[in-house]
Amino acid sequence: MSNEQDIYEEHVLDHYEDPYHRGELDKATHSHEADNPLCGDVVHIDLKIDSEDKIQEAWFSGDGCVISQASASMLIETVEGKSLDEVRNFTAEQMLGLFGPKLTPNRQKCCLLSWRVLQSAIHSPVDDLPPDDDGGPDVHFGGPSLGEES
C-alpha cells in the first residue's frame, strides 16, 4: 500500500494548467454535457464530425477537480482525427491508462467523466434535443456506490 504513485504527477498538472482546446466550438456538429454525481462537477464537449465520421475538431469546457480537467484535456487531445468507430472502441480502461496514475474507484469517476461525455456526444447531434441528461450507452463503472456520507 505504501508509496503510491503521485496522482498529481507533472504531466497531469501540466494538462491542468495548460489544457488542450479548453473552450467552446461555434460550429459544433455534436455536443454533450454531463455531471459527476460524486461532486456535481460538469464537463461539456463540442465536436465537429465530418462526413467521413471523423472527429475534425474537439473542445471541452467545465469545472472540476484536477483529475477531471486534466483527463478531459488529454482525451480531447487524443481524440482529434479519430474515427467514430475508434472512439466507440476506446474503453474506460484505456481512458484510465491514458490518464496515467492509478486511481481509487471514487477518483476514477473523475477521470471517466469526460470519457462518458464523449461517448454520449458522438450520439448527440447539436440540432436534436439532447437524448436525456445522461444519454448514450448506459455504462456502470466504478462499482455501484455513488452515495455520499457525513
Binding site: M1, P37, L38, G40, T104, P105, N106, R107, H140, G143, P144, S145, L146, G147, E148, E149, S150
Partner: protein, 434 residues
C-alpha cells in the same frame, strides 16, 4: 430452493470436522445458569457466530474503518471497497443478477416493511388483495395489515392442511380466484419447519402477473438459494440467523421493481441532488440505503456467507435434518407429546412440540435447567397458533454446529420434563421452614 440433497449425494459433516467447526464458536462451550453444559437449540430465533465473523468486524474497526461513499481518504476508500465487496458476496450467495439488486437493510423485518411502504403504497388500492399463508411470522403479516390501514386493501390467508403442509391445489386456486396483487409467503415456517415449494408457487404467480415476496429468513441460513432460478420479485432475510451479526438484513428485488419504486427512508446517500424545494433520487442500490449503512455488519455478513458456503449449504441442510429427524421421530414415539409440524420429508431442522398439560414456558425453563436452550411461546406467529388452537409451543431448532448427541440429550430431557410436571398426588402444605 433447490431440493435438499439426500445424505447420499453430499458428504455429511463428520465428527472431526464438526469438532473443528464447533471450536470456531466459543460460546458453545459454556453452561446455562444451572451449570449444565449448553446445547444451543434456539437457532431459528438467532444463531451463534464463528470467530471469523467476529474477527471480520473487529478487523474492520481496528484496521480500516471510516464512513463509506464519496470519501477520498485511504480509510474511506478501503471501507467503501470492503462494504461494496460484501454486497457482491451476498449477490453471489443468492445468485442475484446484479449487486444493484442487493439492498442492505437493518433486518428481515425492515426489508419487508420497505417493500410494503414503497411498492405497496405505490401499487395497492382499496379492494386489492394480498395473499399470504397462515403460517407467516408477524414480520410478514403486520406490515400488510398496516398497508391495509393505509390503502384499504385486504389480506387473505392460505390455510394449512392437517399434516402441516399446504395444499398446492388450494394455492393455485386462490391465486386464480383472488387475483392478489401480491403473494407474500415464507420459504420455511419458523415454527412448523414446513418448506414451501417456492419455485412452483412463484411460477404460478408469475403466470398470473402476481408480484411475489418470499420471506427467506429460515431458508437463507440453511439451504442453497438461487433467486434467478426461483424467479422471486422480492426476497428477504436477516443476518443474525445465518451466523452473521445483528443489525443487518437483505432485501433482494428484481432491478425493474426496485427501479420503479419510490425511495423509502430519506437522507444522505439516497439522493443525487437536494434543494430547498425537493430532491432527486440516486440510482440503485443507494436509493434504498439512506444514512450511514451498517458497514461493519455488512462485512460481518459477507464473512458469514463465505463461511456457510465453504462448508456447503446442502451439507448444512443435510446435517440439520439428520439431527432434527432424531428429535422429531423420537418425540413422536412418546405418549402425551405432539409434534407440531409435518414429517421430516417436508421440513427443515425445526422441531416444535407440546406436552399434554404442561405449559410451553415451563418446558423451556426446565430444559434450560438441564442445559438445553429452546424457545417457548407463539414465536411471532399468533395467527398460526390460533389456527392450531394452541396458545404456545416449544421449539428446538438445529444448526450446523449441533451434534447428534445433543438431539439425544434433548429427547431424554423432554422426557424428564414431562415426568416432573406430571401430577403425582401432591398436597399443598405451608412452606417448609428454611
Amino acid at each position: 430452493m433447490k431440493t435438499i440433497p439426500t445424505l447420499s449425494t453430499c458428504t455429511p459433516l463428520n465428527d472431526s470436522e464438526l469438532a473443528d467447526l464447533r471450536d470456531q464458536f466459543p460460546i458453545l462451550s459454556r453452561s446455562t445458569a444451572s451449570g449444565a453444559p449448553l446445547a444451543f437449540l434456539d437457532n431459528a430465533a438467532s444463531t451463534q457466530r464463528p470467530v471469523c465473523v467476529i474477527d471480520a468486524m473487529s478487523d474492520c474497526y481496528q484496521q480500516y474503518y471510516a464512513n463509506v461513499h464519496r470519501g477520498i481518504h485511504t480509510l474511506s476508500e478501503e471501507s467503501t471497497e470492503a462494504y461494496e465487496q460484501s454486497r457482491k458476496v451476498i449477490a453471489s450467495f443468492i445468485n442475484a443478477a446484479s449487486e444493484r439488486e442487493v439492498i442492505f437493510t437493518s433486518g428481515a423485518t425492515a426489508s419487508i416493511n420497505l417493500v410494503a411502504r414503497t411498492w405497496g403504497d405505490q401499487n395497492l388500492r382499496e379492494g386489492d388483495v394480498i395473499l399470504t399463508t397462515i403460517a407467516e411470522h408477524h414480520a410478514n403479516i403486520v406490515p400488510w395489515h398496516q398497508l391495509c390501514e393505509r390503502t384499504g386493501c385486504r389480506v387473505e390467508f392460505l390455510p394449512l392442511k392437517k399434516d402441516f403442509t399446504f395444499d398446492d391445489e388450494t394455492v393455485h386456486q386462490k391465486l386464480r380466484e383472488l387475483r392478489p396483487k401480491l403473494f407474500a409467503f415464507t420459504a420455511v415456517s419458523n415454527v412448523l419447519g414446513t418448506i414451501t415449494p417456492v419455485k412452483k408457487w412463484v411460477h404460478w404467480a408469475r403466470e398470473l402477473g402476481i408480484t411475489t415476496l418470499v420471506d427467506a429468513s429460515q431458508a437463507a441460513p440453511h439451504q442453497p438459494l438461487d433467486v434467478e432460478q426461483l424467479d422471486t420479485d422480492f426476497l428477504v432475510f436477516g443476518g443474525h440467523k445465518m451466523c452473521g451479526p445483528t443489525g443487518i438484513g437483505v432485501l433482494h428485488g428484481k432491478e425493474n421493481y426496485l427501479d420503479s419504486m419510490p425511495p423509502f427512508l430519506g437522507g444522505g446517500g439516497m439522493i443525487n441532488r437536494v434543494s430547498v424545494d425537493g430532491f432527486e433520487t440516486a440510482d440503485l442500490p443507494d436509493k434504498f440505503e439512506a444514512g450511514t449503512p451498517p458497514i461493519a455488519e455488512a462485512i460481518g455478513l459477507a464473512a458469514a456467507a463465505k463461511f456457510l458456503r465453504q462448508i456447503g449449504l446442502d451439507r448444512i441442510a443435510a446435517h440439520e435434518k439428520q439431527l432434527a429427524q432424531v428429535a422429531d421421530e423420537g418425540l413422536r414415539l412418546i405418549e402425551g407429546i405432539e409434534v407440531i409440524g409435518p414429517s421430516m420429508s417436508h421440513k427443515s431442522g425445526i422441531v416444535s412440540f407440546s406436552i399434554d398439560r404442561v405449559h410451553a414456558h415451563d418446558i423451556a425453563q426446565e430444559l434450560d435447567h438441564l442445559g438445553l436452550a429452546v424457545r417457548a411461546g407463539h414465536h411471532c406467529t399468533m395467527p398460526l397458533h390460533r389456527h392450531l388452537k394452541k396458545s404456545s409451543t416449544t421449539r428446538a431448532s438445529f444448526y450446523l454446529y449441533n451434534r447428534l448427541e445433543e438431539a439425544h440429550r434433548f429427547l431424554e430431557a423432554v422426557q424428564q420434563v414431562q415426568k416432573k410436571f406430571t401430577p403425582s398426588g401432591r398436597k399443598r402444605s405451608s412452606r417448609p421452614q428454611d
